[in-house]
């Protein structure tokens, strides 16, 4: 047993072998299931990515819509109310919000499935849980950016020239807000893929995070290793894409 796991080698030797194998795509076998841990992890990857990307997209788009609507509204109350709701939402940890949604929509109303990933309907509650958190986050960011550009000279110039308010917001304030927020969003999206661990536990979602926690509780470390490596790779890929996106969106950055 010890020999087959290579435990007789020195620590440095074990780590060196891990690196060599990792580069070749071999992250070791799961101790419990004696299949390749990388295969186990990759099998879970789609579910994790789907949940993260859909929640992010829904949250990001709705945040933009709400922020623009708030900016266009003539009553400042609207903005204040939206921000207060965002604060309330952020004061509820995601896992707790998920349980409350399950309570209301599955247990009481019996409308939506609470656990597992079986149909399109299964997505509703987890996505609602995560995306509301994302909305609150990005609404806050967009709102802060708008509040700053609202008093800027270029906005006042445009308004003084007679450009309609909606056009100023959508053509000037929004693009200027978008650039820095996309950088933040890139990092956040990467973090989200691995950060949904607890949500996956609540909804019994067959994602990466749950696999890693199972790996931890069953002391099946090759799984944990493979999971962390895969999440790191996903993170790097996402940030690379964001950098490319940045080059497309920002007129000041042009790829040579």
């Amino acid at each position: 047993m010890r020999t087959s796991l290579g435990l007789n080698d020195s620590l440095a030797g074990q780590y060196g072998r891990f690196l060599v194998d990792a580069v070749h795509g071999d992250l070791g076998n799961s101790i419990r299931q004696s299949t390749s841990s990388l295969a186990l992890v990759l099998q879970r990857l789609p579910a994790a990515l789907q949940l993260a990307f859909i929640s992010f997209a829904v949250g990001f788009v709705l945040a933009i819509v709400l922020a623009v609507a708030g900016e266009l509204s003539t009553r400042p109350r609207v903005r204040t109310a939206m921000l207060s709701i965002a604060t309330v939402r952020q004061a509820i940890p995601p896992y707790l919000f998920g349980i409350l949604l399950i309570l209301v929509f599955s247990v009481w109303a019996g409308l939506l499935p609470a656990l597992g990933m079986n149909s399109a309907l299964s997505f509703v509650l987890p996505v609602a849980t995560v995306s509301t958190f994302e909305i609150a986050l990005y609404l806050r960011l967009f709102n802060a950016s708008f509040a700053e550009s609202r008093r800027s000279d270029y906005v006042r110039t445009a308004l003084a020239k007679g450009v309609p308010h909606s056009r100023v917001v959508i053509r000037h304030q929004l693009p200027n807000a978008l650039l820095p927020i996309i950088t933040v969003a890139g990092i956040n999206l990467g973090v989200l893929v691995g950060g949904l661990v607890v949500i996956e536990m609540v909804f019994n979602w067959p994602g990466l995070g749950r696999l890693i926690i199972e790996g931890v509780t069953q002391r099946d470390y090759p799984i944990v290793q493979a999971g962390v490596v895969v999440i790191a790779v996903v993170f790097i890929v996402i940030n690379f894409i964001v950098d490319l996106l940045y080059a497309v969106l920002d007129p000041r950055v042009r790829l040579a």
Partner: protein, 258 residues
Amino acid sequence: MLAIVAVLVLVVPFLPGFDTDTQDLGDNLLAPLQNPAHLLGTDALGRDILSRLSVAVRVSLLVAFGAVLISALVGTSVGLTAGYFRGRIDTVLMSIGDIQLAIPVVLLLIVLVATLGSRPLLLVVLLGLTDWVGYGRVVRSMVVSLREQEFVQAARSAGASGFWVIRKHLLPNVLSQVVILAAFEIGVVVTIESSLSFIGLGIQPPTPSLGLMINEGQRYLQSNPSLVFVPALAIFLVIGGIQFLSQNVGVRRSRSTT
């Protein structure tokens, strides 16, 4: 909101019938307000929820305060060092921060707790060490602009060492921002700690904790939703109270300075 929390933590332990551990399997799963001996009802093992809640909030806050203290200390030191000395040490420290920011905190903590264990004190340290980057960045950016200010240049010209400038000028000038951030971060740390406890990797039973109470209550969602509601409300009061407080302080400050 924080007043309710204060009553819960400070007054409840002195009420008659305060008892977190006595099990009463005959009187288990009592709903709130049914038995004057158990105002908020009892859990699956018949333990008094009000008492457990009081202790759980206290534990959560203690862990959060401790962790925030550590992270504020580490982050502020890093920010002052990086911002004042710039150069290579700045690049190194901030790169470490960027990398840490890119790792999901909960995931990182899960792996750390799994390898190192989850004794309460260790948990405080781990939470503290994974949450310093925010302070580091804020302090660094303030220091970068402060150090170019003429009163810093004047102090240096009068022979002040880096240590003198940092201690006498930079630290006092960033401190109020650090305090505001720390107030906000208490809510964040409570969230993270309760998430960890929820998946069984945070505070270990029999010590009551909010996350664990919710996890246990989840099983009785259909029959006794109050088992989830009560700790949920407590978490909301703690985090929401802190958030509203720190936002109001922030707004008031920005109004008074402009």
